[in-house]
């Protein structure tokens, strides 16, 4: 099933080339102004529509997945985080889920050894968790660092983050840790999909595409910073133009930058229609964001409707004689 990854890979190359050559052919205004604006609009509108769509669906039942001891008798120690019965507990559970990927941390790997032991064995599988955390945090840092292009003066936090990210102080311009971690994590995630039979089987083109896209974005970004020197002042002039809604296209910005910007724009535009929406979904998942207190506090189903039931009277009418004969109490004697 090579198409599943070759087509997304080719698509990312092609997209890059389109912007690279297009900008050279005088279409800089399109790749530098029109498309980024469209992409941002698509992202915001799409994101909001998607989340509102989820929010519009009812939550008829309170069905958290419980991952620890419930609250019951006072002297039994409850697991307040993995089986919360209060809003605070849910809040902590969600924080840990969102910021530390707690569920992924539990990951194990099963192996079956046919002839030696005939046992299924489980080992802790931490690498997915490490790679996922590394990827998401590196991405976040990269994203935040880029605020230096959209703010003037650059806020202290962004500068601080940059300093932190460049703490190793290697090379000139200084190496950013995120610039190493991000591509490494993406490559790991990609390798899993390609080389683990189970993952290869479940992966779709839409799983490879974002990985290649982000790799493309990272590659173009890194090469601009470290290898092909670009006109940073010109770029900042342009990005500031974008945020202040007075876009300009300064001269001398290379095709590489347009390629980079275009891939980023694609990522934004693609985001709401894709699995990347897990960013929004994780907040709304009813198996995680609800308290396990359904027996203590009634949950109301907005569309609860009456159903036909077999009443006791129907039942007694059906079985009265047999019940009387067996000495079971009845409401009506005949």
């Amino acid at each position: 099933m090579t198409q599943k990854y070759l087509i997304p890979l080719a698509a990312v190359f092609l997209l890059f080339l389109v912007a690279y050559t297009g900008a050279g052919a005088g279409l800089g205004w399109f790749f530098g102004i029109v498309f980024p604006y469209l992409a941002i609009i698509a992202f915001l509108v799409g994101f909001v529509i998607k989340v509102m769509g989820w929010a519009a669906s009812a939550v008829p039942f309170r069905i958290p997945t419980t991952c620890g001891q419930q609250k019951s008798l006072d002297w039994i120690q409850q697991n307040r985080i993995d089986n919360p019965d209060t809003t605070l507990g849910v809040f902590v559970r969600m924080l840990l889920e969102i910021f530390t990927f707690r569920s992924l941390f539990r990951n194990t790997k099963a192996a079956f050894n046919r002839n030696a032991s005939n046992r299924i064995t489980y080992s802790w599988e931490i690498f997915l968790w490490v790679a996922a955390l590394a990827f998401h945090y590196a991405f976040l840092v990269v994203l935040l660092r880029h605020f230096r292009f959209f703010t003037s003066p650059v806020p202290g936090v962004v500068q601080f983050l940059e300093a932190l990210d460049g703490i190793v102080q290697v090379g000139l311009p200084g190496l950013f840790l995120s610039g190493v971690v991000l591509p490494a994590a993406v490559l790991f995630l990609l390798a899993r999909r390609l080389f683990d039979a189970k993952l290869r089987y479940i992966s779709q083109a839409s799983d490879y595409f974002p990985l290649f896209l982000i790799l493309g974005i990272a590659a173009t970004g890194i090469s601009m910073r470290y290898f092909t020197k670009v006109d940073v002042t010109g770029i900042k002039e342009m990005t500031m133009g974008l945020v202040t809604l007075s876009p300009t296209i300064p001269d001398g910005i290379g095709g590489l930058f347009y390629g980079h910007l275009f891939l980023v724009s694609i990522l934004f535009a693609y985001f709401p229609a894709s699995k990347l929406m897990h960013l929004g979904g994780v907040f709304l998942s009813p198996t995680r964001n609800m308290a396990n207190n359904t027996r203590a506090k009634r949950h109301v189903n907005p569309w609860n409707y009456d159903v036909p039931i077999h009443t006791y009277q129907d039942y007694e009418d059906h079985f009265r004689d047999k019940m009387i004969e067996a000495g079971l109490p009845v409401d009506k004697k005949e």
Partner: protein
């Protein structure tokens, strides 16, 4: 029994890395294979509840006798459920196919069939959702090769059959959901899929017939009121032989303190019957010592709810009896016996569906004074919560020695574990009635527990290969403690488990027996005025009373 396949043959089939083609290519070759599927619902059973498309049909025949507009019905059904269930909508949208859930399913672990990876099970339906309900899907439909590239599929008959096959290979155990970073619960997706199947009459008989029985007669097994009474009286006779005490229960007693409801399986089949006898002993004890009045009901004589495996509506229709009967009898609150899915329904659905139960009182144990605030609204208490509370307050006189021959481990049933969190209450009870207790490995207990492989209505006879394959992870863990600590008894608080795990043990670990927790309580509890007991509830000699050779 799994007459076709020996354990060795079954083990030979397992390979976790075999298939790496495009799963969509194999859709057409899906063979609904004997041993892996359950028979179709009988027309009469479907009719009892007035559910759609009652007719005789057979899954292995080409023609499933579907209504002409079945695609439209399913399409509308999906649409409606996307609006009604946020879970469904989000779970359709956000899976990133990270594979964290892939090797968490006992059916995948036991069969190696890649379509039993939870993520792929969900993808079977998700691929249809993507095609018919997303903008991207609609665009890709118009591009040659687009559907395939997007992993999207139109809802064809082959797709339907494949979904049917695999959604009846999921026991709704929620283990996958524990590991998913977004909490995606494939059980919930299976619930939706089965609801959809029921719109066009595609239930299995092992679910439809119990549902119909329960609706009409009061319990899954279709035990009529007089027979139900007879069966309990039969236990009473045995108990009199064993203990010398008359443990006759109340039936439909108006004004009793507590209504007790348990799965009918415990009245009907060993070893559940011993658990049932344990209840009778406990209630007799509480009546004599403390004057607590517990009643049974033949109308609400089913704690289990196979409606849950049919549709939310059917679940509600069956569950309604519990509150209706409690109200009619004028009891204070309801006590529920040992059962798995029954407790998920009570804990997470009952009050919402059929409440508010404002005619009942917040449950208070009159003997200990404990207020069960965790059940303040639903007003139903789990029997291990109740018994644990009694033991903690020293209200039960127990002779652990009578269980000295039992070297125990405990199987957490999926629903109480992952849909409730009832983990330490049964352990507390076990430790107070028995001296030898060993846990199975941590990856296989508590919230990580492995399903018996026969839940969610799949404990039929014809799908034994599937059941025994799904049982393998549990069996492996059990075998481990059997070999290491000499465990000879697998405790459980689920009626389906008592049947299913017995079959599991017979197949995989024949040296181990299955027992309900209240069977052990019944053995240990010293009834006022009892004779010197020489036999346990199974009428086997108590430890120390074995006959001299």
């Amino acid at each position: 029994m799994a007459d076709e396949l020996t354990p060795d043959e079954l083990l030979d089939k397992i390979d976790y890395g075999a298939d790496s083609g495009n799963w969509m290519d194999t859709t057409k070759s899906v063979q609904i294979r004997p041993g892996m599927y359950c028979y179709a619902a009988k027309a009469e059973s479907v009719e009892t509840l007035g559910l759609p498309n009652a007719r005789p049909w057979n899954p292995v025949e080409e023609d499933w006798k579907l209504p002409d507009d079945w695609q439209q019905i399913l399409h509308n059904g999906i649409k409606e459920r996307l609006e009604r269930f946020r879970t469904f909508k989000i779970f359709m949208d956000v899976c990133v196919r990270c594979g964290a859930c892939a090797d968490k399913c006992h059916f995948f672990l036991g069969t190696g069939d890649p379509k039993n990876m939870p993520v792929l099970r969900a993808e079977l339906l998700r691929s249809v959702y993507r095609n018919d309900f997303t903008t991207a899907g609609k665009i890709l439909q118009n591009i040659p090769g687009g559907q395939r590239l997007g992993g999207n599929r139109p809802l064809t008959l082959d797709v339907l059959k494949e979904m049917w096959y695999y959604f009846f290979q999921c026991t709704e155990c929620r283990r996958c959901s524990v590991f998913c970073p977004y909490g995606i619960d494939t059980a919930e997706i299976t619930i939706m899929a089965r609801e959809l199947f029921n719109l066009i009459g595609l239930n299995i008989d092992w679910i439809a017939t119990p549902v119909s029985n329960c609706y009409q007669t009061g319990n899954h097994l279709g035990i009529q009121p007089h027979a139900f009474k007879d069966m309990l009286e039969f236990f009473v006779e045995d108990l009199e032989d064993i203990t010398g005490v008359d443990c006759t229960p109340n039936f439909q007693k108006k004004g009793a303190d507590i209504l007790f409801i348990t799965p009918s399986g415990d009245v009907f089949a060993d070893p559940g019957t011993y658990t049932c006898q344990g209840y009778l002993i406990l209630f007799k004890y509480l009546k004599d010592k403390y004057g607590l009045d517990v009643t049974w009901s033949t109308y609400a004589s089913e704690g289990g709810n196979f409606g849950f495996f049919t549709s939310h509506e059917t679940m509600k229709r069956l569950n309604a009896k519990m509150y209706a009967e409690a109200k009619r009898l004028g009891v204070k609150w309801i006590l529920g016996g040992e059962c798995g899915h029954m407790w998920r329904v009570i804990h997470q659905y009952m009050d919402t569906m059929n409440g508010p139960a404002d005619f009942l009182e917040v449950p208070v144990n009159p003997i200990t004074g404990t207020r069960f605030t965790n059940a303040a609204s639903t007003k139903m208490v789990h029997i291990t919560e109740f018994t644990a509370d009694l033991i903690k307050h020293g209200k039960l006189e127990l002779d652990k020695g009578r269980n000295a021959n039992r070297i125990m481990t405990f199987h957490d049933s999926c629903n109480p574990a992952r849909g409730m969190g009832l983990l330490d209450e049964p352990r507390y009870v076990i430790n107070n009635v028995c001296d030898n207790f060993y846990e199975m490995p941590p990856n296989t207990i508590r919230e990580n527990t492995f399903c018996c492989g026969s839940g969610a209505g799949l404990n039929a006879g014809e799908n034994m290969e599937l059941r025994m394959a799904g049982a393998l992870p549990r069996a492996t863990a059990l075998k481990h403690v059997h070999e290491k600590y000499g465990v000879n008894t697998l405790g459980t608080i689920c009626a389906i488990d008592r049947a299913a795990l017995s079959t599991l043990c017979e197949y995989w670990v024949p040296e181990v027996e299955v027992a309900g927790i209240h069977e052990l309580v019944g053995n240990a509890l010293i009834l006022p005025g009892e004779k010197e007991r020489t036999e346990d509830l199974r009428m086997e000699p108590l430890p120390g009373c074995e006959e001299e050779e």
